[in-house]
Symmetry: C2
Subunit: 159 residues, 2 copies
DNA sequence: AATGATTACTTGATGTGTCAAGTAATCCTC
DNA sequence: GAGGATTACTTGACACATCAAGTAATCATT
């Protein structure tokens, strides 16, 4: 995968991964691949939401007036504006979110969680949290949770 | 998101996340969301491959005869057989892998890395490893790398 | 050796994400 | 206050993933 191999190209001073890094990397890739599918599967099955849709609703629910600008919402959900735009349109069609122009800035659009969206979120939350706990936190000691928190933070600041 | 709220439904004995877990979870979700897009962006730009396509080629390259059954390849790449089937068909159309029926089991299909696929992989590897190093491992201490490895392993065994 | 169950895929339809391009409002500078 | 540049989105085309269903070979049982 990313193991050492003899370099042929001139000037290829690549710092390959050592054995420990390679093992860690393969495991991280697996985690990064599998976590979304586990979350998506449970939420779709039980609540008819993707994990990203859940995140969008959850972010709106945590905020005054349950309202955020698209850009702010994109930032909080780590998504591109394009992706968010498509998802919010679909959520609006389903009545879970409402879009309206921002009064302070004519370029901007606000997204607001509707009452129905709040209900859907409230009903989805227990099952989702249970899945998160069972598939992640029940596997980790409290020390590992805090280590994970710092590791993830370090990576995020790099990206 | 997954914060505590008063439970209304009867029998809802959900174990909500505490503050530390919530922070760790939000960071992990961000990492899990962002890592694939970082890897995909670099590989697509520089090598015309998705990260998953790279993984498929890499797994084949590590194996005797550069050949694996679809099921084994799906397992190694943490993918569903359906997803793999589509991807391998596209890779075959591009001449990077070859498919042929497995002699030992008439139901099974073998996928083999072609010479051209090996070349594409060899050319893609340095840039990919550099991206992995810069966006992940350069941010972590050696202790964090080994902690990450164990944390990921613990999660994987749960999933 | 026939039948049903299982395994190993493949295929087609649908949904979601990404990229490139477009629109429209605001900012900025002269 | 008239330009161009930037910001904040939206849209449409295409690529990729997922789901349900289908096919075909093998295994397991009688």
């Amino acid at each position: 995968m990313t193991s050492q191999r003899t370099s042929t190209a001139p000037g290829s001073d690549v710092r390959w991964l050592d054995a420990d890094e390679l093992v860690a990397w393969k495991r991280l890739v697996a985690v990064v691949e599998l976590i979304p599918s586990v979350l998506d599967a449970q939420l779709r099955r039980d609540s008819g939401l993707t994990h990203f849709e859940y995140l969008v609703l959850a972010m709106l629910s945590e905020v005054p007036d349950r309202t955020l600008r698209m850009t702010a919402l994109a930032h909080r959900t780590n998504a591109t504006l394009t992706r968010l735009s498509h998802v919010v349109r679909r959520l609006e069609e389903r009545g879970l979110v409402l879009r309206f122009p921002c009064p302070e800035d004519g370029r901007a659009t606000n997204a607001r969680l509707t009452d129905e969206g709040g209900c859907v979120l409230t009903e989805a939350a227990p099952g989702h949290v249970t899945t998160v706990r069972e598939s992640i936190f029940d596997a980790l000691t409290p020390e590992q949770v805090s280590e994970l928190s710092e590791i993830a933070d370090a990576i995020l600041r790099r990206i």
